[in-house]
Symmetry: C2
Subunit: 305 residues, 2 copies
């Protein structure tokens, strides 16, 4: 069950009230792969510049990330710099240097084209469509996007949605895409346009799955300390898709569980800078957090006294 991710491979400089990380591994494909590979091997497609710390990236292969789809372009790597406010909810982008990412045209290696689970990280929807032209018969395609594309490439994005099974986006994105502030109504608007499911990521307020006339809600995990929110959404996607690929089961009950795996990965991601936390944990830690989620939300209709 090939699990493919196409997205950015970046160098992030992040400042939070708790410290600073410079030129650390980042980008949607990297966070996705670090989280996802805890559950299932990941095939990664992206581009880096000649200055990228390849030794660090190559360490991902030890975890089961296949980097044969990562090309080295002639130029600088994609760099993003941002700063978080005290409550970690407000983020200021200090710098975005696209570098080689500006001319990224995803080329899916022949070995990856049979992937059954495909995650289209947040890139130009035209490129996301190009990826779908290259994969043969995916069982489930999930897709992320952002306000920049919703605004600038709306027609292409809507065309893409016809071929997407799960759209993941956050509150402000779903409101901008649909023009509806009511997120459940907005999700139905999207479902009428292609995707069977919509996942609305709400940061510290959890995540919602809407589809098949049902709504499933997962809170954010109550962490003692949130260190750096960068990459939480892509780590969520890695856990979500990693669980689906590992179990090869796309029924609604299993999508619910995938939401919990996704939320667990998002909660790990924010406990350290960059992808550091994923160096420290193993599948057993993820499973323990999934069980802790049950404890957090489950209740019995008739508890014993």
């Amino acid at each position: 069950m090939g699990l493919l991710v196409v997205g950015s491979v970046a160098l992030d400089t992040v400042e939070t009230p708790f410290g600073k990380a410079e030129d650390a591994l980042g980008g949607s494909a990297v966070f996705f792969a670090c989280a996802g590979s805890l559950l299932h091997p990941v095939q990664m497609v992206g581009v880096v510049g000649r200055d990228y710390p390849m030794a660090q990236l190559k360490r991902l292969t030890e975890r089961g990330v296949d980097l044969r789809g990562v090309t080295v372009g002639d130029g600088e790597s994609f760099r993003w710099a941002g700063k978080y406010g005290f409550d970690l909810n407000t983020r200021e982008t200090l710098e975005t240097r696209l570098g080689v990412f500006a001319n990224f045209r995803p080329q899916i290696p022949e070995e990856f084209r049979g992937a059954r689970y495909v995650f289209l990280g947040n890139i130009d929807p035209e490129l996301q469509l190009e990826v779908l032209e290259q994969v043969r018969a995916p069982k489930l395609v999930a897709c992320d996007t952002m306000n920049y594309w919703i605004h600038g490439k709306r027609t292409t994005l809507l065309k893409l949605l016809e071929r997407v099974d799960v759209l993941l986006l956050n509150d402000s994105e779903i409101r901008e895409l649909t023009g509806d502030w009511h997120i459940h109504r907005a999700a139905r608007w999207i479902i009428e346009r292609g995707p069977r499911y919509v996942v609305i990521k709400q940061g510290e307020h959890g995540a919602v799955l809407v589809g098949e006339g049902k709504i499933f809600y997962v809170p954010a995990f109550p962490l003692e300390d949130v260190f750096d929110p960068t990459g939480a959404g892509d780590s969520f996607a890695g856990g979500f898709m990693g669980h689906l690929a590992r179990t090869d089961n796309v029924t609604l009950p299993n999508l619910r569980l995938a939401m919990v795996y996704g939320s667990s990965m998002g909660s790990f991601a924010v406990e350290r800078f960059s992808v550091q936390r994923f160096d420290e944990i193993k599948l057993d830690d993820v499973r323990a957090r999934v069980r802790a989620y049950r404890e957090l939300v489950h209740f019995e209709l008739e508890p014993e006294g």
Copy 2:
């Protein structure tokens, strides 16, 4: 198992983007009683002015609300007027006229003093303490408060907390009371000062129960339309306490279920102006919503394909 509420009995004038209600039944004791009495008889203590629409209030007796603790003072009833913004999250208080409520000194009728479940609605903590002096042997005391008392009567409030089992408050209140923005850490601060449990009401983001080293989370129910948020917190308290009194079981598993009953009542309250929604529903409707909550949050660790 007597269930006692002491709180305000008011006339609310509320304007939302969807309409306006003038001089409608309101106040913490009224919302609590309307919700709670769907689950268990309620004994109400409060004060109204000579202008209060007693015929409307007396209709609550048909549902099992005992009004023998409601006195008629010499003066005007407590009136509150407020206006909600488009997203219903921001509320502007247009007018507060305390009337007879300004001199309210709760007198608990002899028939109510054996109450086993006591809810102290949001009034001066000195009065809340006076209530506790009058009840004989409550099994569980829950208490609400607000920033006004946290700020102005902090010492008394801390003294009260020593005698409270469950403190209910919202995000901003718990942060102001404890000086800690991290709500779970803040809840532990409170638990060290008396209450066994803290319930943090987060409006559209649900509610959290903290206690016995555990955290339990209930999301807000995904409603198609929210009409008027007034009274959601007191309706929550009514559902929470009503369930506990009905089952007479204060174990943690049953407190979890009480959180779901509370959230269900809060979700009903906001579907209409004032307490109107409680006129339309019965215990079966509440139970159906509790079951819908299970559907919303439960997941299986190993779902079948």
